[in-house]
């Protein structure tokens, strides 16, 4: 395993160096991809190795940065799960990037992009491997900074600069909170290694436990995109190159989930029931609001970014339910809920990665992300359309794909909670199930919109009309993830059984979870519910094949007449008559008007002679997300106010600065005196 670990490091390092040194653009792109694929494959192998041998991989370099306990890596099953998840999406994204980054040739530095991508993957892979606080924070910060530079790739666009600013602010606010949580936790520990923190946590008071948990939840939540800390996602994801968006949305935000699990469940060893309730409430809020905002988006990648907020919400509902059941002592139920959350994290990585790569192909082919300018791409990009449809079906939770399995499991893990006798648990679970059902329905509508408006009907702009299919490497990358979506769905039973090792952080949890899978059946404790993904896939396959054959036979007998699309007998049909993305979402905009508070602006230019002749008509409708108007706008104004006020200190006079130095020195001496006395 040590070999695999070093191979992973070497792969990514090679990718970074090759990107910087290779001669010519083609070589740079190839070198970047080769290094990243080797690194990603090694990381998957390392993760599988940890799973297979049930051992913890450890590597220490205490001499490196020995002031803060040195660099240490410890890879247990929980970390290995997330490491494998990184690798699963990283490999296709690297292959995709080899083709996709050709668009940047001559405009932006491919060398910088390739090196930053490999360093991003490297640090991201090492986050779940970290064995002490220093290593964790170093890798976490490395991941944040490299991803910031990747977001800033198209730095000429004003939107990108704005997005980068938001991302940097949110991620560093998060790091500050995480750091505070770790410092509080490490106060009584011998060293900052996770082993010692775990032991020290037992000595901390319950109040301190809760403070650490809430700080960690806020800090990691800002990375995960939990509402109301999600504001950077819909800005940064569209701005980044598409394979980087896929990585950030598919993988990086999951490491926020990893952080919450590591600190809350592992280091602190679980907590009171309200921790779980808080996670469920935040998760349900993110899920419902995320999907509602996703539905209103006309920018394909922004839609996907909001959908990531929704899915992170679902993951947190699962994690929260698990933590709640643990505090109530219902270990088997907790096992189901946690594996539902983790499995959804894995599935979301696969289908959201694929969706972003698909959106990247669309962007690559047409140069626009605005769905109202797309349409008709199914004929021009058949492969991309097929892969995008697969991922849309998966994310909408349709069998036999992977989204269905994890959402089914999530529902089944919450339903027993409705019968719980503990106070407030039954109503909470009922509301959570309702929120989940609403989310599922709205997500399906959202992806009907995303796929339908983008790929069906006739092109709405010349750019969409002259679109071309993605290059081979991009199609291969999307194909790998599409197969992963199907595989994770059909073969869910053995995979879930194998995942039970992840939950070894608490005694009894693994054993309880291992009973989820049995033969072809997926069953929850006490046979509350049973489902077989493989049999459903088989049944669906038979039905679809039967219908297809039946139609073929009928068509052969009766003949097929292909006619024009029925357009009410119109003489000409133009794209202007099509259903637009905005129009598709209009009914929901009305139903949820209280939440969206849309502003409408309709201006019509009439002919001067008669009002019956309209010369031009302009309709503009905007929604301002609630949190940004009522939470972030006042906050930003306040911070700027403080900034302006403190500027008075910076007078530019050296004498004033010398005075500050003296004052600071005297204050420190005073503090020493007080402490000494």
């Amino acid at each position: 395993m040590t070999f695999l670990f070093w191979l992973m490091l070497a792969g990514y390092a090679f990718g970074a160096v090759a990107a910087l040194l290779a001669p010519g653009n083609r070589a740079v792109r190839r070198g970047t991809a080769t290094g990243a694929v080797v690194g990603a494959t090694a990381s998957i192998a390392l993760a599988l190795g940890v799973f297979a041998t049930d051992a913890t991989f450890a590597f220490d370099a205490p001499a490196l940065l020995s002031v803060a306990d040195g660099v240490a890596f410890r890879l247990d099953a929980l970390g290995a799960f997330f490491l494998g998840l990184v690798g699963l999406v990283a490999a296709p994204c690297a292959i995709y990037g080899a083709g996709y980054s050709a668009t940047y040739e001559g405009r932006y530095s491919l060398r910088f992009l390739g090196a930053a991508l490999n360093l991003f993957l490297l640090t991201m892979s090492l986050v779940p491997c970290a064995g002490n606080v220093l290593t964790f924070l170093l890798m976490w910060e490395g991941m944040s900074l490299t991803s910031y530079f990747l977001v800033m790739t198209e730095r000429d666009e004003p939107d990108t600069v704005n997005a980068g600013g938001w991302y940097l602010a949110m991620t560093h606010a998060g790091v500050a909170l995480v750091l505070a949580a770790f410092l509080l936790l490490a106060a009584g520990a011998d060293t900052t290694s996770f082993v010692h923190l775990r032991a020290a946590a037992i000595r901390l008071s319950p109040t301190m436990h809760s403070v650490v948990f809430v700080l960690a939840l806020l800090g990691f939540g800002s990375k995960a995109g939990l509402m109301p800390l999600h504001v950077w996602l819909p800005r940064a994801h569209p701005a980044a190159p598409s394979h980087v968006s896929a990585l950030m949305s598919g993988v990086m935000i999951k490491l926020g989930v990893y952080g919450v699990l590591r600190v809350g469940l592992d280091l602190l060893g679980g907590g009171p029931a309200w921790w779980g309730a808080l996670l469920i409430v935040l998760g349900a809020l993110s899920a419902v609001l995320g999907v509602l905002y996703a539905l209103m988006e006309n920018d394909l990648k922004r839609l996907l970014a909001y959908s990531s907020v929704e899915n992170v919400g679902l993951i947190f509902v699962g994690v929260g339910a698990g933590s709640l059941f643990l505090s109530l002592g219902a270990v088997p139920a907790a096992g189901v809920a946690l594996s539902a959350g983790l499995y959804h994290a894995l599935n979301h990585a696969a289908f959201k990665g694929l969706l972003f790569l698909g959106a990247g192909s669309v962007l690559h082919a047409t140069g626009t992300r605005d769905m109202n300018l797309l349409g008709g791409l199914i004929r021009r990009l058949p492969w991309t359309a097929l892969f995008f449809l697969t991922a849309s079906l998966a994310i909408a939770g349709l069998p036999p794909l992977n989204g269905f399995v994890s959402e089914w499991l999530l529902f089944q893990s919450l339903l027993p909670g409705i019968g719980s006798s503990a106070p407030f648990v039954a109503p909470l679970m009922t509301l959570a199930v309702g929120a989940l059902a609403l989310t599922g329905g709205l997500a399906a509508a959202g992806f009907v919109k995303a796929f339908g408006v983008t790929f069906l009907a006739i092109p709405r702009s010349p750019a969409a009309e002259h679109a071309h299919e993605a290059s081979l490497s991009m199609r291969i990358a999307m194909g790998i993830l599409a197969i992963a979506c199907a595989g994770l769905g059909v073969a869910a039973v053995p995979i879930l059984a194998a995942l039970s090792a992840v939950l070894a952080v608490r005694t009894g949890l693994s054993a309880a979870t291992a009973e989820i899978g049995g033969g072809v059946w997926l069953s929850t404790p006490e046979r509350f519910a049973q489902m077989s993904p493989a049999l459903i896939a088989l049944g669906l396959g038979v039905v679809i094949a039967g219908v297809w054959l039946g139609v073929r036979v009928m068509a052969a007998r009766r003949g097929v007449r292909i006619g024009e699309t029925w357009g009410c007998g119109r003489v000409t049909q133009t794209p202007r008559m099509e259903y637009t993305a905005t129009a598709f979402a209009e009914p929901l905009r009305r139903v949820f008007a209280e939440l969206y508070r849309p502003t409408k602006d309709l201006s019509i230019d009439f002919h001067p002679e008669s009002r019956y002749f309209v010369q031009s008509i302009e309709y503009r409708s905007e929604i301002v997300p609630w949190f940004e108007r009522y939470l972030y706008a006042p906050l930003i104004a306040r911070v700027q106010g403080w900034g302006l006020r403190t500027r008075a200190l910076q007078s530019g006079s050296a004498h004033a600065y010398l005075t500050y130095l003296v004052i600071a020195l005297l204050a420190l001496l005073g503090m020493l005196l007080v402490q000494g006395a």
Binding site: R561, G563, E564, W566, G569, R570
Partner: protein
Amino acid sequence: MRLFSKILQVGIATEPLAPGGDEVVRLLHEVDARARRLFGRALAIREVDAGSCNGCELEISGLTSPVYDSERFGIHFVASPRHADMLLVTGPVTRNMAVPLVKTYEATPDPKLVVAVGDCARTCGVFQGSYAVAGSVDQIIPVDVFVDGCPPEPADILRGILGAIGRR
């Protein structure tokens, strides 16, 4: 509450069938029986106004009125030719409606029936020779049955429909 008090105050307002109404109901039963035999379900009709003065439409909508209520006999007016077994075309075909009529005919799945309702549909009536008229219905699409009258009564229209589904 106002609804209930109104129901109580007004009482039954339905008038008895006018003379000749029994004949229409008999024809409706016959259409129902034949449509059941032919399709095993209701007869789906798409009405196309190709330029009529709307006199024929008045009579056709009389069929679906509460007096006859043709829906209960399985005569179903549908919103798209894609769902239709039969086209009910009225009026002389105007230039503007010629292409849409052809497109409607093409959009109707085979096998299909066309019933041209009213004198205008056969001869263009008083609109004959107008610069706005492209021709009678049978000059634009194949017609199975013509229904004469200006306008034809509901009973005549039903006889036309019967004649059309009787031909098959």
